[in-house]
């Protein structure tokens, strides 16, 4: 199995083997972060540009740390988008970054498909760090990596994803990744936050949080973005916590060793009680640590594929 994609845009287009290759590569990179000198020369001489059109701390920092541990040079560009500006900037900016002879653009953008569009217009590598509601492949990969590390496998696992599924790129990428690897995915949310046709992606739908937790090996709790203006679709915060919040009382009825995940940042007391976030079942900080290894793997693989393309001419 070899990796031949210059870009990582989403998990939908990946095969099971490609996902497994990323996970295996990440596993081999994880140890680097435990060394006294946390650096290998794998991407020495490469330039990675973090192009973030949306506020993000952890994903951006995670990519930056990952690139630096591989000895790449990293440039961060944070910029605001405005829908009024009709996005003329993204393609132009991408071409400018290419003209600077950078090797990889890591892009976060609030429009679904932005990473795909950028990849069509530049020949250097594009890694999607989250595009609109579409995909956030490295988040799902690190979730899956963490799960596999905790439970030893993905095949046959029951994973519940709770929260605003409709507007979540994390949910979409997780559903693609987990189902491709043979897990059974349940999504749980108030009706208006479940997008149509999600069953056709292979997920089971429930509006009952206790049912979603009951047999689950793991629960991935999404951040509720109450700042989003989606009008009537959004429940009241307290109402949401009462009906869908993950509490120790609810977990008491679930499997004893259920793995609790959250992509962060957490709204404590809204989608998850504080003592759950800090409790024994939580792997939230391990996810952050694993995020580095997964992103190192992704940067390494796309750079390698790019080099192969260049050699082939």
């Amino acid at each position: 199995m070899s990796w031949n994609r210059k870009d990582l845009l989403g998990l939908e287009e990946l095969t099971r083997e490609e996902i497994e290759l990323i996970l295996a590569t990440a596993e081999s990179f994880k140890e680097i972060s435990t060394r006294e000198i946390k650096k290998v020369p794998a991407l020495r001489g490469k330039t990675v540009v973090n192009l973030f059109y949306e506020p993000s701390t952890r994903t951006r920092v995670s990519f930056e740390v990952a690139a630096k541990r591989l000895s790449a040079d990293v440039i961060n560009i944070a910029t605001e988008t405005s829908s009024v500006k009709k996005g003329e900037t993204l393609i132009d900016t991408g071409r400018n970054i290419e003209a600077l002879k950078a090797d990889i653009i890591v892009v976060r953008h609030n429009a679904s498909g932005a990473a795909a569009m950028l990849a069509r217009h530049v020949s250097i590598s594009v890694v999607n760090a989250g595009d609109g509601w579409h995909e956030h492949p490295t988040q799902a990969l690190l979730d899956i990596f963490t799960l596999k590390e905790k439970l030893g496998r993905i095949e046959g696992l029951k994973v519940s994803i709770v929260g605003d599924i409709a507007h979540s790129r994390v949910a979409r990428s997780n559903i693609w990744g987990l189902t491709k690897l043979g897990a059974k995915v349940t999504v749980c949310a108030p009706k208006l936050l479940i997008p149509p046709a999600i069953e056709e992606m292979g997920a089971v739908v429930t509006n009952d949080i206790d049912a979603a937790l009951k047999c689950a090996d793991a629960v991935n709790v999404l951040r509720m973005q109450f700042e989003r203006d989606e009008g009537a679709a959004f429940p009241e915060q307290l109402e949401y916590f009462k009906n869908y919040g993950i509490t120790n009382e609810r977990l008491a009825k679930a499997k004893r060793d259920i793995v609790v995940m959250h992509p962060g940042p957490i709204n404590r007391g809204i989608e998850m009680a504080s003592d759950v976030a800090d409790g024994a079942n939580s792997v939230i900080l391990e996810q952050v640590t694993n995020g580095i290894a997964v992103r190192m793997a992704v940067l390494f693989l796309v750079a390698q594929a790019q080099d192969k393309l260049v050699v082939r001419g």
């Binding site: 939908e12 829908s83 009709k86 996005g87 003329e88 993204l90 393609i91 953008h109 429009a111 679904s112 498909g113 932005a114 795909a116 569009m117 069509r120 595009d131 609109g132 509601w133 579409h134 995909e135 790129r169 979409r172 997008p195 149509p196 046709a197 999600i198 056709e200 992606m201």
Partner: protein, 424 residues
């Protein structure tokens, strides 16, 4: 000036003709259609092995002038039309200014007289500035020469206002062309609601937003006894509603665009905005239903909904890109491939949908090859293969959803009013 087109397979459904014949055009009119015409023509075109049909009538074209000459002009759009075999187009009124008063229409007629390369006929707006608030002076627009009224791109939400529009249009004797969409239901969507919107993480446009408004428009037209024409039908439910209304004697006609029978929603999965249109590309079942509707006759016409946009407005983030695609240069070849070659329509059927029927709907004396008619004739090589490429499209904008597609069937000659105006 006399032109003789010899030995082509002449197809003229109005006269139930399908056979190898000659056509003689004298000055601007057709003078004779017969076998072996012996007449000293000034110009003879050998059409052996070719198909000879009336020039196409496209009843849904955005020529963008006045106002957005960077996207298309009357001149560039009509040149593209002639290359596609389209000799008459109905210009949509969503220009700037909108065609909502006599002065605007006078201005447009002036531009047409000066720069149109094909026959351009005009539609007027239903409401002022197409805002759905206040009716235009429909009778005055009619006197100024509009052949239909439409707020295309928008639908009049107010039932009372729409009913009033139908009543006045009925008295004026012109059809009301409806862009049937309830924007409250389509809710800022950009692709078909369902698995496609789910996969792409984009807002979806429900089928309901179309067919519920189709039902309303038909209901109001029926009440007023007016002629309603539903534009760009894209989903099965709309067709069911239209079929039922036709059966019940309502004066309703409709059209669809080539992309609704040549493409389904899966085309959008790469986020290419050249597949973004409104209504959106629908499911495979809908595509099937559209084809059946063309075959059964529920769908009367094929129109391109030619909607040019600049690259700056189109080749950007999907959700921010403009809706719409160009179609004048590809509609005939796409229809030949998807309908004639696929056995859904025969040539007579195709000519009805693309020429005779739209002419009838608009009350235009076109779409036939009868003696005495305007000599608007096209000669098509049904075997010529070509690939749709940006570089060879002559339309000012290049936002085609068929780029890269291999098509069969190309226009070799376009004759307009007895003159050769396009030659391949």
């Amino acid at each position: 000036m006399k032109i003789l087109i010899r030995n082509g397979r002449v197809i003229d459904p109005a006269n139930n003709i399908d056979g190898v014949l000659d056509i003689l055009a004298e000055f601007s009119k057709i003078s004779k259609v017969a076998k072996n015409i012996r007449n000293g023509a000034d110009k003879t075109i050998d059409a052996e092995g070719k198909i000879v049909i009336p020039g196409l009538v496209d009843m849904h074209v955005h020529l963008r002038e006045p106002g957005r000459e960077d996207k298309e002009t009357i001149c560039s759009g009509t040149k593209a039309a002639l290359k596609g075999g389209v000799t008459s187009v109905l210009a949509m009124p969503n220009t700037s200014p909108a065609m909502d008063n006599r002065d605007a229409i006078k201005l447009l007629k002036g531009i047409i007289a000066k720069s149109a390369k094909a026959n351009v006929v005009i539609s007027g707006a239903i409401t002022r500035e197409r805002l759905g608030r206040e009716l235009t002076d429909i009778s005055a627009l009619k006197q100024e020469g509009v052949l239909a009224i439409t707020d295309d791109g928008a639908s009049v939400d107010d039932d009372k206002l729409m009913l009033e529009a139908f009543k006045i249009a009925k008295v004026a004797g012109i059809p009301v062309i409806c862009h049937s969409e309830d924007k409250a239901l389509s809710a800022k969507g950009v692709v078909n609601l369902g698995l496609t919107s789910m996969r792409l993480g984009l807002r979806g446009i429900s089928r309901e937003s179309e067919y519920k408004r189709v039902a309303r428009d038909i209901e109001l037209a029926k009440k007023a006894g007016a002629w309603v024409h539903i534009a760009h039908v894209s989903c099965k439910e709309s067709l069911d509603i239209i079929a039922k209304a036709k059966k019940n004697g309502v004066t309703v006609t409709c059209d669809t665009a080539p992309h609704y029978f040549a493409l389904d929603e899966s085309a959008v999965l790469g986020f290419d905005p050249n597949f973004k249109m409104n209504p959106p590309l629908r499911s495979k079942e809908d595509v099937q239903a559209i084809k059946e509707g063309l075959k059964s006759g529920v769908i009367d016409a094929i129109a391109s909904d030619h909607a040019p946009h600049t690259e700056n407005e189109k080749d950007i983030e999907f959700e921010r890109a403009e809706f719409g695609v160009i179609g004048l240069e590809t509609e005939l070849a796409v229809s030949i491939a998807e309908l004639v070659e696929a056995g859904i329509l025969d040539w007579q059927g195709l000519v009805k949908k693309m020429s005779l029927n739209p002419a009838k709907i608009l009350g235009l004396d076109k779409g036939t090859l009868s003696a005495g008619q305007d000599a608007d004739i096209i000669i098509v090589n049904p075997d010529a293969e070509w690939v749709v490429q940006k570089e060879t499209l002559i339309c000012k904008s290049k936002n085609s959803c068929f780029l890269g597609r291999k098509l069969k069937g190309a226009v070799e000659y376009t004759v307009l009013g007895g003159k050769v105006v396009y030659k391949k």
